[in-house]
């Protein structure tokens, strides 16, 4: 166990990750205590809080204090909003909390973006950025805490959280602190306050989710990224139209497998501790339109945006009827895009989805009529195909490192599409293509299959569960340790 104690301190070059031996060891140690303490709510929450704060420290160092500060401010603001009578005071507190929370977020995440917009010289920006590291997961835990504030303000939550430990734990809960899903206060807080008898079912489900999530993220997503997608998005001009198009298809499934795989691991971990976290994905590529897509993709974010941004906006614009709705949609998606990252690419991506939904809203009646007139199966399938194509097309914006690269890719796809290299390409990029198809196939498999597998896994004796887990780890390890497949540029 060389270097174990040194590794317990924060190292900014090596932040803690779920897929590390260190996390495995730390989690096991934590679980050792948890297994004997979990029936006592108070002890359980203290243990969870300590581990969550330590976890965040290991990931982001001293920024753990920002986390504590945000949670503390909101804890008190929640009280004052509840107890103060006057609407204006409540509103003032709401704005105060928003300013503090979003202020941090703005500063850390968007400061450099704003500097670019205002033309601050890049050299200066470089040295400035050195001083600003970014608290990882801030976009997520800030939004988490804000759900509490909003719900208190709206009286969706009847009484504020009196227990500071509970509230701090809610914000810093380690499974979903780094990348969601964004659990609403009204969903997670009650669970934290209640005792929960963890069943064999939950344990089995949790482990199964961790395994399947890991396969999606490491075996499919990371493999595709390293061996195929990254290189094309890094230098699109070195590849032809067909390759760039395949990279777009690949990027879509890669991002899905990456994010949904990671989410599965998170939900699985929470399961092991007896907590239910709402899922983020529900077979998104089965969507027949973009409106539906956002009810199946990153569901906790769209739920957040819908409840706390779209709803008030459409309320505000309701007199404008259809125009009002469209305005609300566009603003929501503009902000949603921006939330994903401080880059025009994300903004454009968000807006394109916003326009798609606006278009769908506007043409809803028309489409309804068409649906009534033609073969329904045909309508559904073509809707799915059209939607998928739109997603592939816009994912280029999401994934490209900057606007120029994105437009370069579009240009290449439409002007340098050469079918003669396709057979060569399939031969050379055989394995990535296989993995890409595997990703899509796994997505389109019926959920019932997944559920049956889960049940079968749950019923296995614990030794077999361990062996299967071991096999999964070994499979994934092959993709960690193998070198990237050689770059091959098909000359044109």
């Amino acid at each position: 166990m060389t270097g174990f104690f040194e590794s317990l301190t924060y190292n900014n070059l090596n932040p803690l990750k779920f897929h590390s031996v260190l996390f495995f060891v730390l989690f096991t140690l934590f679980y050792l205590f948890y297994a004997f303490v979990y029936k006592n709510i108070r002890l359980r929450n203290v243990l969870l809080l300590l581990f969550s704060l330590y976890f965040y420290y290991k990931v982001s160092g001293l920024f753990v204090f920002i986390l504590i500060l945000t949670a503390t401010v909101d804890y008190f603001v929640g009280f004052w909003i509840y107890y103060l009578e006057s609407l204006w005071k409540k509103r003032f507190l709401l704005i105060l909390s928003l300013t503090v929370n979003l202020g941090y977020l703005f500063y850390y995440k968007y400061a450099t973006f704003l500097m670019h917009i205002f033309g601050v010289k890049e050299i200066f920006a470089d040295t400035f950025i050195d001083k600003i590291l970014f608290p990882i997961g801030m976009s997520f835990f800030v939004f988490k805490s804000l759900t509490y504030i909003f719900d208190i303000y709206r009286k969706t939550i009847d009484i504020p959280e009196y227990n500071y430990i509970n509230y701090l734990l809610y914000v810093s809960f380690f499974p979903n602190i780094l990348a969601g899903p964004i659990s609403k206060a009204r969903d997670l807080l009650p669970q934290l306050k209640a005792k929960h008898d963890i069943t064999e079912d939950e344990i089995g489900r949790g482990i199964f989710l961790i395994m399947s999530g890991a396969i999606k993220k490491f075996f499919i997503a990371d493999f595709l990224a390293i061996n195929f997608i990254d290189r094309i998005f890094d230098s699109p001009s070195l590849f032809g139209g067909f390759e760039n198009l395949m990279a777009a298809f690949g990027a879509l499934i890669q991002i899905y497998c990456d994010f949904s795989g990671y989410t599965d691991i998170v939900i699985g971990l929470a399961c092991l501790m007896g907590f239910t976290i709402k899922p983020n994905f529900n077979k998104p590529f089965l969507s027949q339109n973009i409106t539906e897509f956002w009810r199946r993709w990153h569901m906790t974010l769209s739920s957040w945006m819908s409840d706390y941004l779209f709803y008030p906006l459409s309320y505000f614009f309701r007199r404008l009827k259809m125009i009002g709705v469209i305005l609300a949609v566009l603003i929501t998606f503009f902000i949603s895009g921006l939330w994903h990252g401080a880059n025009w690419t994300f903004v454009l991506w968000g807006c394109s989805h916003g326009f798609a939904i606006a278009f769908e809203t506007w043409t809803k009646n028309l489409r309804y009529k068409i649906f009534g007139k033609i073969n329904q199966r045909f309508y559904k399938i073509s809707s799915i195909i059209i939607t998928l194509n739109f997603l592939v097309f816009t994912i280029i914006l999401f994934r490209a490192s900057d606007i120029n690269k994105a437009f370069e890719m579009y240009k290449i796809i439409f002007t340098r599409f050469d079918v003669s290299i396709i057979s060569n390409w399939i031969h050379v990029y055989f394995y990535p293509l296989l993995v890409l198809l595997l990703g899509y196939i796994l997505h389109f498999l019926p959920q019932k299959l997944n559920d049956n597998l889960t049940l079968k896994f749950i019923s296995l004796p614990w030794i077999l569960k361990s062996v299967i887990f071991f096999i999964v780890i070994v499979i994934i390890y092959q993709t960690f340790s193998s070198e990237a497949l050689p770059f091959v540029y098909l000359e044109f």
Binding site: R154, S314, V325, Y368
Partner: protein
Amino acid sequence: MSEEVKTKLNSIFKNVFKDHSLEVTEEMTSNDVERWDSLSHFTLIATVENEFKIKFHLNELIAMKNVGDLIHGISSKQLSVSNS
């Protein structure tokens, strides 16, 4: 009183959701009407506010769980209007 509200609401619903077979009930929610989603929700609310000459606060709307709450909300607002 709430019967009048209900009748008027009926015709509003029929118009907004383009479904002439629609009959509102107290327990009805957005799940029960095909075209009632977050996008058409406020078109409905705006129409209701217009027809009944009332104004809802955001928090009031959030608290409403079904059509019954809506009827109640409309009625109480009308009451306060007629009382002032």
